[in-house]
């Protein structure tokens, strides 16, 4: 039943997409360069810094979402997610060095993006309260620590997984579980702190306890949407079809629905607490977001980030229907980018977004997307598309455990 590729439509001809990453990189790179020059001339690189931050946070959250799926796979000893594990590992390893390199402009443009970097902690109590992190050295040290931990986690999870392909030794599985075990705790902490330090700190006066959870739910959301699309394409091309049965897409769809709900839940919880407490030091963040076209964006997010995907994903059968879910996944990408914009940009444009600059974040997204897609494809092509000796590989293929036992006994008997 697992090999029922006969039900699949014929493989897609992807050859004309082959040059897309390079083209995205070139077009995006040109837009970035023009944007940087114009932004330098007009507003001292503020616009460029914020646009770059938005694009960085987009791919960064995607890679973190993939890393989360890899660790949860090992921690829960799951069978169904064997097929998606390998390319999730590749997505996670984008964190280092590539996303770390793409982070450098943010660090260098820090004073243009983060207002607190230009303020004196001796006169500003809000900055003084956040010392020693809110110093330039503290910012670099914390960022280096985050990337160090993600480098360790993503590279080790990928390394032992590839070693498992060669040896199939039980020790590989143990190592993978070891890194996932402490990794998930380190992941929760670093994800929270990085979301606060890089995104929330654009409005340095503001604070929110649930910000990390909210950022995490969006990471998992965009990660799952990306994984769904990649898995659907790879199954259609018969690359991971043996280990990706139809109902595994149902599981992905359920998770996607769950995180649609969870991210709305955390976002609303944040809003509700701020609304209810009614304290000026918190409410200003939402008051800015009710001005100008930020108000319109808030409504787009309420309906587009939650209600539309929620009701589309709700029916049972639809979760396995690529024709519905792939457009939803692309929609999720758009909504996630808008949500990041909603978090980042009002610090720069408190009276509404200036649409004449809208091509700049798009250019940054294109450039980074093209670059990271090239890196991802290179990694994907260099290794087997799914783990070759995962202990649950046969389970993922839908081979009965009894058959496995009979076969191993027959083999053992033959060897004797």
């Amino acid at each position: 039943m697992s090999h029922d590729t006969t039900h699949l439509p014929p493989p897609l001809d992807l050859s004309r997409w082959r040059k897309l990453p390079a083209r995205l990189m070139v077009v995006g790179g040109i837009l970035c360069a023009i944007g940087a020059a114009l932004s330098y001339q007009r507003n001292d690189l503020h616009e460029f810094g914020f646009s770059w931050l938005l694009a960085f946070m987009f791919y960064y959250s995607l890679a973190l979402g993939a890393l989360f799926l890899v660790m949860v796979h090992h921690l829960t000893d799951a069978g169904w997610s064997v097929g998606i594990r390998r390319f999730c590992e590749h997505l996670a390893t984008l964190l280092f060095p590539w996303l770390a390199i793409l982070f450098l402009p943010i660090g260098l443009l820090g004073p243009k993006i983060y207002q607190w970097m230009t303020l004196d902690s001796a006169t500003n109590n809000l900055v003084a309260a956040k010392l020693p992190v809110f110093t330039t050295a503290g910012f670099w040290a914390a960022s280096a620590l985050f990337f160090g931990i993600w480098w360790l986690l993503s590279s080790q999870l990928s390394r032992w997984s590839l070693k498992q392909d060669e040896t199939g030794a039980a020790d590989c599985t143990r190592k993978l579980r070891f890194y996932s075990g402490w990794g998930i705790v380190a992941y929760a902490l670093t994800l929270t702190y990085s979301g606060v330090l890089w995104m929330n700190a654009t409005s340095y006066q503001w604070f929110s306890c649930i910000y990390g959870v909210y950022f995490f739910s969006d990471c998992a959301w965009i990660g799952l949407a990306t994984v769904y699309v990649i898995a659907a394409v790879l199954v259609r091309q018969r690359i991971i079809a043996p280990v990706m049965k139809r109902n595994y897409f149902y599981f992905l769809g359920v998770l996607l629905l769950g995180f649609t709900l969870f991210s709305a839940y955390t976002e609303f919880a944040q809003y509700f607490v701020v609304w209810n407490a009614n304290m000026p030091e918190e409410t200003f963040w939402y008051l800015i977001r009710e001005r100008g076209n930020w108000w319109g964006l808030s409504l787009v997010l309420i309906f587009g980030h939650f209600f539309i995907p929620f009701f589309v994903l709700l029916p049972e059968k639809v979760k396995m229907n690529f024709k519905v879910i792939i457009p939803v996944c692309l929609w999720i990408g758009l909504m996630h980018a808008l949500d990041l914009g909603f978090n980042i940009f009002p610090a720069l444009h408190p009276y509404g977004y200036h649409f004449k600059w809208v091509w700049l974040p798009i250019g940054c997204l294109m450039f980074m997307g093209g670059l990271l897609a090239k890196v991802f494809l290179k990694k994907f092509n260099a290794h087997p598309p799914y783990p070759q000796r995962d202990p649950r590989l046969l389970e993922a293929m839908g081979v009965s455990q009894n058959t496995v036992r009979d076969l191993t006994e027959a083999n053992a008997g033959g060897a004797r």
Binding site: F268, Y271, F272, W275, N276, N278, P315, E316, K317
Partner: protein, 179 residues
């Protein structure tokens, strides 16, 4: 006491046998029939052409109703019947209503699921004609029983019996309704 016919039952020995039989019954054009098995038989829902249960819709309706009624209640008490300022908040506002309404949505949805399930199964009931059938107890042991209802448009005591015997059913028997 009228004695009506409830249907005709036939016994099978394995999941595969009843699945094969069910396909033939379906292909013969019967619509009011059911299969009773000791455990779920994979693929039976497809053979029986069972869609999704309607319980979800009952649950949705009850949940939405509960949500709307709590929003209405909060508006009526706080903003209409006895306007009361609490913590400098507006008399009526969406964030204010959300938490209690959401909780009642969950309760309404849960009650809807329970009531909908019972209602669609026509439960509770004190008796069912199949319970009079002596061999019916075996479906909770090792037999697979297929019953074609007498209310089916195609039902005919002789023809249906012939069909069930023809597809390998053992102990084909009439089930009577003593109501």
């Amino acid at each position: 006491m009228s004695e009506k016919l409830y249907g005709i039952s036939a016994e099978f020995d394995s999941p595969a046998a009843i699945l094969r039989a069910a396909k033939k019954v379906r292909d013969a054009g019967y619509r009011r029939w059911d299969a009773f098995t000791p455990f779920p038989v994979h693929g039976m829902d497809q053979v029986m052409q069972l869609g999704n249960s309607l319980v979800g819709w009952v649950s949705l309706a009850m949940g939405a109703g509960a949500f709307a009624s709590v929003v209405g209640l909060l508006w009526f008490t706080n903003a209409f019947d006895y306007p009361l300022i609490v913590g400098g908040k507006p008399m009526f506002s969406v964030p204010m209503t959300f938490v209690p309404s959401y909780i009642m949505l969950i309760m309404g949805g849960a009650i809807g699921a329970l009531v909908g399930m019972l209602g669609l199964n026509q439960l509770p009931r004190l008796h069912h004609p199949l319970l009079d059938h002596k061999r019916f107890d075996l479906v909770s042991r090792d037999k697979f029983i297929l019953v074609i209802g007498a209310q089916d448009e195609k039902f005919c005591a002789t023809e249906t019996r012939k069909l069930l015997e023809g597809i390998g059913g053992a102990h084909v028997a009439l089930v009577e309704d003593h109501d």
